[in-house]
């Protein structure tokens, strides 16, 4: 059979339709499409894709099952190592992980592993198999406390519960899911899917206590008196600002505030939901990552007429997923590359009205290997805008380290851990963005898994 060089793409809703609502953009494969795409896999003897996956999903085996139409078995296979496939299938940067390693990519397009994972997870969600993944609840073992209900905390909790431990998650917000809930918008990750995964973790016997800010309500040391081990998955919740003049004007939001108001507090349904947000007609989003793309695309859906991305390097250096950059461009987001805002001006009532920007050019590569942006002298120009979203990154949440002197951190705030995820305090583990800084869902899950293993070994 002639090898198909091109992958099968998912159907997407038209731009005109999708920018008017918060529903998902790609529509997922039909069973026939999934089988067709899965058949492209050549079933390498020595599959490199698995090595590209932070949680080592057995990719060739699940794809073979899909090719044979055995979707339930494929779902089982994935769930062996990945508890949140419907989420990962949607938001993982596959192009930099499993798909990057795929041998088909050398001569054509790599197999669409992410799309297949998504298909399988959605199929299983709609047709829960009776054998399902029922918790093999062993005798109730020791109690373990988890801080944070993002992907790191949920994964660690789920794995420990499956091993029979009594797990309690402490979450500071009134809603669970971490960034999956308050950060990533509905049109990219439907909350119904996130909630289902959380319900699954709960069904394993995990207790989730919301409105519990660890550090303030209970310190880590206090938790250690009640629980045999603690896992800290408190994420990278501290928004960075540029500290330029005018950044405190009305109309300038951090991406966290912007997305939190809209996604979590449902400001788009104001006044039925009471949290307000004010978005003007011309929005500037500063940054080039997923958070920036999400903020820009949310702005369109909130009724903005012109949405800019200000990024100081070029599109090539943008850390956002290629797929999301492509969709942002399709939707009409205007990319102002090599553009650095240096000052915001206000109108008479104190609302932001103009961004003063500097033109940049690319110089020598920096430590990250990306070419360093350099300012071009006397190149300042102004753009009229009435809303600014600062999406230049987040740092590890400083609250627990501040309240826990014995917890060692890097200078930039990341909690220091060993290979196994152990912190400087015996019995206390950490993982996800609190350790890595703003990273990815899958790496947070990988950390949660690894810590669960280490905690089980400790308590055994």
């Amino acid at each position: 059979m002639a090898e198909k060089k091109i992958r099968l793409h998912m159907a997407e809703r038209s731009v005109e339709e999708r920018v008017k609502d918060f529903n998902e953009v790609p529509q997922g494969y039909t069973p026939e499409q999934a089988i067709e795409e899965a058949k492209r896999c050549i079933q390498c003897k020595n599959p490199l894709c698995i090595k590209g996956c932070p949680v080592e999903v057995n990719i060739p085996v699940f794809i073979k099952l899909v090719a044979e139409g055995k979707f339930a078995e494929a779902a089982e296979k994935i769930k062996e190592t990945n508890a949140l496939p419907a989420i990962c299938g949607r938001v993982c940067p596959q192009e930099e992980q499993c798909e990057k390693e795929c041998i088909l990519g050398k001569r054509g397009e790599s197999i669409a592993i992410g799309n297949l994972e998504r298909f399988v997870a959605d199929w299983a969600r709609k047709k829960p198999s009776p054998a399902g993944h029922k918790a093999t609840l062993l005798s109730q073992r020791e109690r373990v406390a988890i801080v944070g209900s993002g992907p790191a905390g949920l994964t660690c909790a789920g794995d420990l519960a499956r091993m029979g431990y009594q797990v309690t998650i402490f979450e500071s917000l009134h809603v669970t899911g971490g960034v999956l809930t308050y950060g990533i918008p509905e049109f990219r990750l439907p909350k119904a899917i996130v909630n289902l995964e959380i319900e699954y973790v709960k069904s394993l016997g995990v207790e989730i206590k919301t409105d519990m800010l660890v550090g303030n309500v209970y310190t880590i040391q206090e938790l250690l008196k009640e629980y045999k081990a603690v896992f800290i998955g408190s994420g990278a919740g501290l928004p960075k600002f540029m500290n330029i003049p005018g950044e405190n004007l009305d109309g300038v939001y951090s991406a966290n505030e912007y997305l939190f108001r809209i996604n979590m507090m449902k400001a788009w349904q104001f006044p039925e939901y009471l949290t307000p947000i004010k978005i003007g007609k011309r929005v500037a989003v500063v940054g080039g990552g997923n958070v920036a793309m999400d903020s820009a695309r949310v702005s369109l859906r909130m009724g903005a007429e012109e949405v800019y991305i200000f990024y100081r390097r070029t599109q090539e250096e943008m850390p956002a997923r290629i797929e999301e950059i492509k969709r942002a461009i399709e939707e009409g987001i205007i990319f102002k590359i090599l553009t650095l805002p240096v000052k915001y001006h206000a109108n008479a009532s104190g609302w932001v009205s103009e961004a003063e920007c500097r033109q940049m050019e690319l110089g020598e590569p920096d430590a990250s290997g990306r070419r360093r942006p350099v300012e071009i002298p006397n190149s300042d120009f102004r753009i009229q805008i009435d809303t600014v979203v600062v999406a230049i990154g987040n740092l590890p949440n400083p609250l627990i380290p501040q309240n826990t002197p014995a917890l060692k951190t890097e200078k930039w705030g990341g909690v220091i851990i060993t290979e196994e995820g152990l912190t400087s305090i015996p019995g206390v583990y950490a993982g996800g963005d609190i350790v890595r800084g703003a990273a990815t869902v899958i790496s947070a899950m990988g950390d949660g898994k690894r810590a669960a293993k280490a905690i089980a070994a400790l308590l055994d």
């Binding site: 917000l173 009134h174 009471l274 949440n397």
Partner: protein, 278 residues
Amino acid sequence: MNRIIQKNKINENIFRIVIDAPHIARAAKPGQFVVVVPTEKAERIPLTIADFDREKGTITIIFQIVGATTKVLDSIPAGGEIAHLLGPLGTPSHIENYGTVVVIGGGVGIAEIYPAVKALKAIGNEVITVIGARNRDLLIFQNELSVVSCQLLVTTDDGSAGRKGFVSDELKDIIASGKKIDLVLAVGPVPMMRVCCEVTKPHGIKTVVSLNPIMLDATGMCGACRVQVGGKTKFACVDGPEFDGHQVDFADLVARLKPFKDMEKRALDHVCRLLGGK
């Protein structure tokens, strides 16, 4: 959890609720606050912990109906439950034996100073408490504060109770009397705190204020509460709410309090319709 076990009307617009929240009472310290989400569709609003009882496991909150979410909070009767309650939040007041401390409260700020007055007195300070309101009906917590203060001075704008004038007038007089003041703590409306800072600054009297910017998560994740202190950006919900008043950029604070004012009116109208014009 989060059950309102007692509710009193202090005046037309101000209410006191005692809430069953043992884990918060256990950890609470003067100067800290909670986030209240009265119902699932309401906002997250910060309210100061006006008192706490570790043994009974309760906290007391004084709130004034100013907008939609406080209106919704008021619709929950004694015996009812608050959907979400998070705390204690913020950095506690720094309580030590300074010597003589003047604690100033204005508006609902009068209730908010109560735990600090109590704690400052208990540790050995001479505490002179000054409270002020527009008129007699808006004066709250007078009895409670007179019990825990060494001296309680009262002012009203219209002279209907205590001295006619502002709390800052009393503050000026205490300073003019030559009494040595080691610390001033001022909690209340922004103009009141700003004026108190202007009064103390020439005399070099350390003045702490409690800031009330717009908050969202109140755990340091969004920056909605950012304020300028000593030329640096601080997040009031975690770095504060108390700051050195002489370093605070009050103009910036005032500007950042107003962006949603018109929407708050719409939200309030919506809530009033739902609650049946109550």
